[in-house]
Assembly symmetry: C2
Homo-oligomer: 377 residues x 2
């Protein structure tokens, strides 16, 4: 599965692993893939600590950092500093929505932060004002060779700045239209994420989306996302013209991940029909396990989810509870994951996942080769 | 792409083409694939005429017939004859729903059938009572070697009857759970249709669904459906362990099809995001182009779609108008199609489609082979 993109990035396998855990970034890199750390939840100071740790443990291997600057979000045209924007956005959260969210948690016996609590209504990295300092931190680390934007085309000056520092830019998309915008802006690697995918995704399935995006942006390399959890699925992705895969769900299910045992059990027990595209955590459609939290925001009589980034400022308390009170929050936890969750039966070592994927890939492509040989015989 | 299933069925390519047009069945067979005629809209007498025509033109090639006996539908436990069931179901259609449907059409300038019109409230083949005579007709035709059920597991006695006559049974599914039910009932070929697919489909994307179904029912052969419109997509399907593909959308876009030019233009102009899973035509979620008809049934204040087969008895007037008044009905027509519609740029000859798919398949698998050779070099 070694494609030209592997040589450009100096990796063995075109397996890009999106994760919030620094340990997984390192383990993926050591197994021949390319780890990408999701930065959205870290302050610049916290991110600096994470990247220093990765630098110390990853040897001479490269890795990436993923930020979130949505194409559209509340306050994007306000031209405010991070602190000013945070204050403005905090003032925009309706008390009714906040009380509703607290009520879901307290009804499930989950401790709820009070007004004025440091953990309440944090903005995190969901805007250009708050993501830009994260990029600045990342660019101080020479082994960071790729900055990816999870939602929308990165701002033009940011792309230029990253390029000037000798790094590549990647961006996710869910349609050929978005892919074209990325390519026109100078994005180096387009990640086409099908509707099967965990986290933010569109409605078009991977098997249809991937080749459309490949055709739209050729010769810009495309990574396949949405539904990657085996080497067979990588073979399918490469057959459809992509140069590699971008996966997220699988790395929630490795020993090196920080996901709680409760969460990993939930993933193991879930089938592919137990996920839902819900706006209840981030304000934009995001695939996750269906539970009492996601259902509550669907009820006609209840407050609707706010826009991005307001909704995450509210749902952040549920996200925090997912980690702090895993048992109490089991029915209201944030469990982002793709439909590929239906394949998961156990927690594996990261290196074992990559070895398995490579073997499955060889088996799948070997089957195709034998079919061709038999047809020619 | 010649798989063991090809030898079992005596065909060159494992390309199964679902179509309502007898000409397409013949053209697919002559090009090396396996055509399957959708019977739901034909009376037994009409079906007999279609199959006789196919028999005369198809030479010694085999073909299939597709029926619809849903796993659940209104009146399924009534144990009535076809005529009695039709009368009972007709009496169950609320006048309000019927008037609403007529209103959508007349608002668009489409002539509307009156009460008592022969074209109003027809049941067609959507039940065991009305599909069984279709099967009886099909089994009188020796070149029919496969009976497929589009929704649900066929009744046990019907499977036995088809097997006794020396034919194979296929059935569509959208989950491993349904696939298991099919396999346990003795279905010979399982068709796994991802959420991308046109017509009735579930929510799980093909890239995730196909390998799950293959694993669930092995060694029963699986056909991949949902998102098939190129040879690359066939290569992906075979890489994921299926033994062939079941396609529908593509055969709306061939010269031999009876689809109107208006409809084919609509497909050419549509992107993958212009389809919707709607209950507005058949009562169950079915993927089609979004238009004024599908939108009208989504409005809060309007009547909801009825269950299957009641809704199609109502929507039948829109389906008839699609063919009879193509220009007037352009915004309310029934245009079932999968997300693969975004790939369509022209109407082709059936033989040209199959030749193209074979070449694209060889190109895609050739690319994978060269990657493996380079990695081993």
């Amino acid at each position: 599965m070694h494609t030209p993109l592997c040589d450009q990035l100096g990796i063995e396998f075109p397996i890009f692993a999106f994760t919030h855990c620094r340990d997984v970034v390192v383990a993926v890199a050591k197994a021949g893939g390319f780890g990408v750390l999701g930065a959205v939840g870290f302050t610049p100071e916290e991110l600096e600590i994470e990247l220093n740790w990765i630098d110390e443990h990853i040897g001479d291997r490269p890795y990436g950092v993923d930020i979130v600057i949505p194409g559209k979000y509340e306050g994007m045209d306000a031209n405010l500093s991070a602190d000013e924007l945070t204050k403005m956005l905090q003032s925009m959260v309706p008390q009714e929505t906040l009380e509703f969210a607290r009520g879901i948690l307290s009804d499930h016996g989950v401790p709820v932060p009070k007004d004025g609590d440091d953990n309440a209504l944090q903005l995190l990295g969901w805007t250009e004002a708050t993501a830009t300092p994260q990029v600045e931190v990342a660019l101080q680390h020479p082994k960071v060779t790729l900055i990816a934007n999870a939602l929308g085309t990165p701002p033009a000056d940011m792309i230029a700045h990253i390029h000037d520092s000798g790094r590549k830019v990647a961006a996710l998309c869910g349609s050929p239209y978005q892919a074209r915008k990325h390519a026109d802006a100078g994005v180096d690697i387009i990640i086409a994420q099908g509707g099967e995918g965990g986290g933010h995704c569109g409605e078009v399935g991977s098997i249809v989306l991937w080749p459309q995006v490949v055709k739209e942006v050729a010769p810009v390399p495309v990574l396949a996302a949405g539904g990657i959890g085996s080497g067979e699925q990588i073979a399918a992705a490469l057959a459809l013209g992509t140069q590699g895969v971008w996966s997220g769900s699988q790395w929630l299910m490795v020993e090196e991940a920080e996901n709680t045992a409760v969460q990993q059990d939930a993933y193991i027990n879930a089938g592919s029909r137990d996920t839902v595209r819900s706006r209840s955590f981030t304000g934009k459609p995001c695939r996750m396990l269906r539970n009492d939290w996601t259902e509550a925001w669907e009820q006609e009589e209840n407050p609707k989810p706010l826009g991005m980034p307001l909704q995450y400022m509210v749902s952040g308390m549920a996200v925090a509870a997912t980690h702090k009170y895993p048992d109490e929050s089991v029915d209201v936890a944030f469990n982002p994951v793709g439909q590929v969750v239906g394949q998961f039966t156990k927690v594996e070592k990261t290196s074992a996942v990559i070895e398995r994927w490579v073997q499955e890939y060889l088996d799948a492509t070997g089957t195709l080769e034998r079919l061709n040989e038999a047809a020619n015989a």
